[in-house]
Symmetry: C2
Subunit: 214 residues, 2 copies
DNA sequence: CGGGCGGTCAACCATTCGGTTGATGCGGTG
DNA sequence: CACCGCATCAACCGAATGGTTGACCGCCCG
């Protein structure tokens, strides 16, 4: 098989250097380009693919300080280049992050503290059109499948995330373009599922269960 | 000058590989050892320095998933090897992290998204006995000096910690053996100091400023 | 010693939140 | 098709929380 050409998207030069060093040990994978944020990644893809260049895989961090975040960048990339696989490589494995990445069209979800071999294997799988999930991530998804009762819906997780930022019901309703009544209905469902009876307790439980990032 | 021998402490293999790759470009700096957490770092130092080995600088991450965190590890290292400089290299630049690192005896505080040159220069400075601060970090410290943020009292911090567990005012009053009225008074003061107007926002701000640990 | 600060408490009122009932529409599944 | 889960909205009420005023005490510091 031809050499795999990868675009790295991560705001940390140190991480980019680490991945570059890691891949340099394999002859069938090479880092073709690097971007520090989503905007830069899109510019590189536009430029590179327009002139007949080749990129086989995007390695995407989710947390990026300034500019476009990883989820948005992933969504944009999949809109413009649906066949280009995007493998998320990040630090956290919360439900909120995983669901957002999957919904945005990611081909896989790996954690940065994984051993180099796993990351390399995941890159190859994703480039081959397969789905590559870290064991921890796969376990969380399986848990949601098997046991849908205690797990929140995607919309409810969205609510809890806003809850945790300290927003009032009114503020949340405006942010999500829904009525305050709907917010309250969602909250009641969330309280039931988490076994609590107020918002601060809901946040505490959601943090403990890694539904949202701590 | 003799070659600088560095101990890397970071739980991410990718980051360690990146730093190793970065330093490999300079002949006067080399990565002598790597540790994935604080315990491992201390074991390596004990073993290495006992047999006459040489370590000139510790590069320390603050966030490490399992085992000893970076601040504790730094404190322990400075207790046992006061002359061994520890340069903190982390992702976040919150006041509490910086102050905790400085209090623990760190010789400097750099951010991972800094350009490789800056990190290399900081490593050299720290090894030479100087203090190395990232520009962003220096700015935050200066800002605190000029414009001290109203800080919470010990009692108020106690309140916020209970708040974050999801307890009601009544529950808090019972836990602390004070009246509900007193709880409310404390909360009003906390809201003023943090610039918010409800409990969940207070928790969010306190987390953001690392007043309470997540 | 006087004033400031932190901690305690009370009474009062407005606002927000929690909880219920009931209802509509949509999409997937047996 | 009928059912069910999800998301949406409304009206209503009691409880909790937010905000204000005012007060007392102990401690430290100038």
């Amino acid at each position: 098989m031809a050499e795999l050409r990868v675009l790295l998207v991560d705001d940390h030069p140190v991480v980019r250097a680490g991945l570059r060093a890691m891949f340099s040990g394999f002859e069938d994978v090479s880092v073709a380009e690097e971007a520090a944020n989503g905007d830069e990644a899109l510019r590189i893809l536009d430029r590179e693919l327009a002139v007949g260049g080749r990129i086989d895989l995007v390695l995407m961090d989710l947390q990026m300080a300034p500019g476009m975040d990883g989820v948005t960048a992933t969504r944009r990339i999949k809109e413009q280049y649906p066949d280009l696989p995007v493998l998320v490589l990040t630090t956290y494995d919360t439900d909120a992050d995983i669901l957002a990445a999957v919904e945005a069209g990611a081909s896989g979800y790996m954690l940065k503290d994984a051993p180099p071999n796993s990351i390399r294997d995941a890159a190859r799988s994703a480039a081959a059109g397969q789905t590559a999930l870290a064991p921890e991530v796969a376990a969380r998804l399986m848990g949601r499948m098997r046991n849908p009762v205690p797990s929140l819906s995607a919309r409810e997780i969205e609510l809890v995330e806003l809850l945790a930022t300290g927003m009032s019901n009114r503020a949340i309703s405006r942010r999500l373009f829904i009525s305050e009544a709907t917010v309250k209905t969602h909250l009641v469902h969330i309280y039931e599922k988490l076994g609590v009876d107020n918002r601060t307790a809901a946040i505490a439980v959601a943090r403990g269960r890694r539904i949202i990032r701590s």
